[in-house]
Symmetry: C2
Subunit: 382 residues, 2 copies
């Protein structure tokens, strides 16, 4: 059975690993350290640096596919692997749209996908002009390297904006700006696509953030009209096809009064898809592996009317109660709660695990998942 | 989070491992060799012999619980671990009823649980007497060490029976005999119990064997009357409580014209419970881990009307088509099929994996699971 090499040692690699085992694959991980979330659990751990070509070549050796749990591997290294015959999935030509937000905006606009007004920003002058264009509704972003709210700024005045831009440009940060979207809520449309072109979509979910970090996903998105659901699914499928994605693609969306706008793209299993582990015939982690191996994709049918995921994000302080006891209390109160932990030490705001709850109603699934996650974080009930 | 040490390196340990990772546990395995099914995938693999006390002590060090994927660890070693303060779950005082079939029969009879007529057999004379008692409907069993149809004989005449017994006794095989049960089909009632006494039962399943090896499990058992289902569940719960089982208990049953008779007990995840991975809120592997840690048990609610498991047992010959291609063809034809492989090389009759299929009807689930498993074994459709 084939070797799948995963570059990146976080929880996404860790959760791919459990599915890889069940499929009988030979999973291998390139990890930065022995204590990393994925390195703790893989049998075949290679320590190294994802920015080092030799380390990448070593992990790719004999692998049927090389994939990622993050978007930060240098494209030129990936291209060298491809030139040497390695199946890198997704390819750097697709990955660029998850790595570089300005490239993504430009490409999506060219596809007539709904994106906010945007422009590259290289000077204070650019800043002042864009401010006027969007009447001050400005969101400034680093084109690369941002995640979970990092690399995003909301300037309060044209002067602030210009100063901020001059400051960041001086530091060498490539920037673009876009119009702030007056959104009602955030949605996520996820699909997987294999090299042969098969695409399968999961139900569109509602996602809720805390400080720019995904905290809750509700599947299906409550009250989403069938027309808009279909639109979002089709949009994600079309993006996957147009940019030649392989593996899982998450299209993060803003729902507005008159439709949706694309926020971000991610080309790997995504936080808004964790619910699939306990609410779907095929989880995003299994699907990603199947997709990058160019295997046929699995059914994305849900197994419950509603499934809610709530992340357990490190709180302001770590309670004295040991984590084991917190998990035990949650399991005692909620036999239906599915607790997933990533083997990570406490840090404020850190994604340390999540809880999935399937139920007959959104209300019940949310109530249980929120209370369970709250207890794991705070050692007290909501 | 706690260390759980698993003694035994087969597919049951392997599938415990995937659940242990998701729970954030630190799993460790005592394996006989690096290539063993579980040793391929655990991060923390200790090579050693489960019959060697020093190896057992080493794996038990700092573990919150020590458990098993087979019943063959010497009781005296386990008792030494317990005396040293190790949480061995299940304890040897319970495990004896899964290790020694005569002890099991004796204990179950004392509990008034339904068992066939039985007697210890130590001589040809014992054999002839038992033959007469049960009018030739004889099943001879080794009290220990039998599994998957090994250690079971059906003598054809009193002379054959007596000769067979004399032969086996001369080889030092401890024996007992029981009346052959005229069964309609086989059932399996599975529960899990933790040290605190919480017990949870799964739906009773129908199991089908091939050459004494479990091949199919259907959940729920088709057409089983609610009264008999309740009886079987209650019986399994009572056995778990009376013999102080911790972890998963499988009570294999014969369904007869007028009820059920107990066939075997197993105190670990069991082949007839593999369907829970893809058809139940809490799989038997997660439940076993929770039970041996004395954590609260999870919901055993099914997530589909019917789930069928079919083992992929090595056929008479291994087809030329590579295993990967067989899996791909199955996934292409049946997006709903869940393929689980154990990393084992081909051997005729060997349990190499299984396929779970959830569906709305027994007919559909059986048809898909049988066809999928058939293809994985034979590289052709049924």
């Amino acid at each position: 059975m084939p070797i799948v090499a995963v570059i990146g040692d976080g929880q996404l690699a860790r959760m791919m690993h459990t599915e890889a085992i069940e499929l009988g694959l030979a999973p291998r991980v390139l990890a930065g350290g022995e204590d990393a979330s994925a390195a703790q659990v893989f049998g075949d751990v290679r320590l190294g640096d994802y920015r080092d070509l030799a380390d990448l070549e070593a992990i790719a050796h004999d692998a049927s596919a090389v994939t990622f749990d993050h978007e930060h591997v240098p494209s030129e290294h990936l291209q060298k692997l491809i030139d040497a015959g390695v199946a890198v999935e997704p390819r750097p030509s697709a990955l660029i749209y998850a790595q570089d937000k300005l490239e993504q905006r430009t490409r999506l606009a060219a596809l007539s996908a709904p994106v906010p007004q945007f422009a590259p920003i290289a000077s204070g002058e650019d800043a002042r002009r864009f401010w006027e264009d969007v009447e001050g509704e400005v969101c400034l972003k680093a084109t690369r390297g941002g995640y979970d709210g990092h690399g995003v700024w909301f300037p309060a005045s044209p002067d602030d904006f210009a100063t901020l831009v001059e400051d960041l440009v001086a530091k060498g940060v490539p920037l673009y700006a876009e119009a702030k979207v007056p959104f009602i809520r955030e949605l996520s449309a996820m699909v997987a696509r294999n090299r042969s072109g098969q695409v399968e979509a999961w139900p569109v979910v509602e996602s809720r953030q805390a400080n720019g970090v995904c905290r809750v996903a509700i599947s299906p998105a409550p009250g989403l009209s069938p027309e808009l659901e279909e639109y979002c699914r089709n949009l994600a499928v079309r993006i996957a096809e147009e940019v030649d994605v392989t593996g899982v693609l998450a299209v993060e969306l803003f729902e507005t009064a008159d439709g949706v706008q694309v926020n971000e793209l991610a080309m790997r299993p995504h936080n808004t898809g964790h619910w699939t582990q306990d609410g779907c015939v095929t989880s995003q982690f299994e699907q990603h592996l199947r997709a990058v191996l160019d295997w046929p994709l699995g059914s994305t049918a849900p197994t419950a009317p509603v499934t809610v995921m709530v992340n357990t994000l490190g709180g302001d302080a770590d309670p004295d109660m040991p984590m084991e006891q917190r998990v035990v209390e949650v399991m005692r109160k909620y036999p239906e709660a599915k607790v997933h932990l990533y083997g990570k030490d406490y840090r404020p705001g850190r994604k340390m695990g999540h809880v999935n709850v399937a139920a007959d109603t959104t209300e019940r699934a949310l109530e249980v998942a929120e209370d369970a996650a709250h207890f794991i974080v705070n050692a007290e009930w909501k």
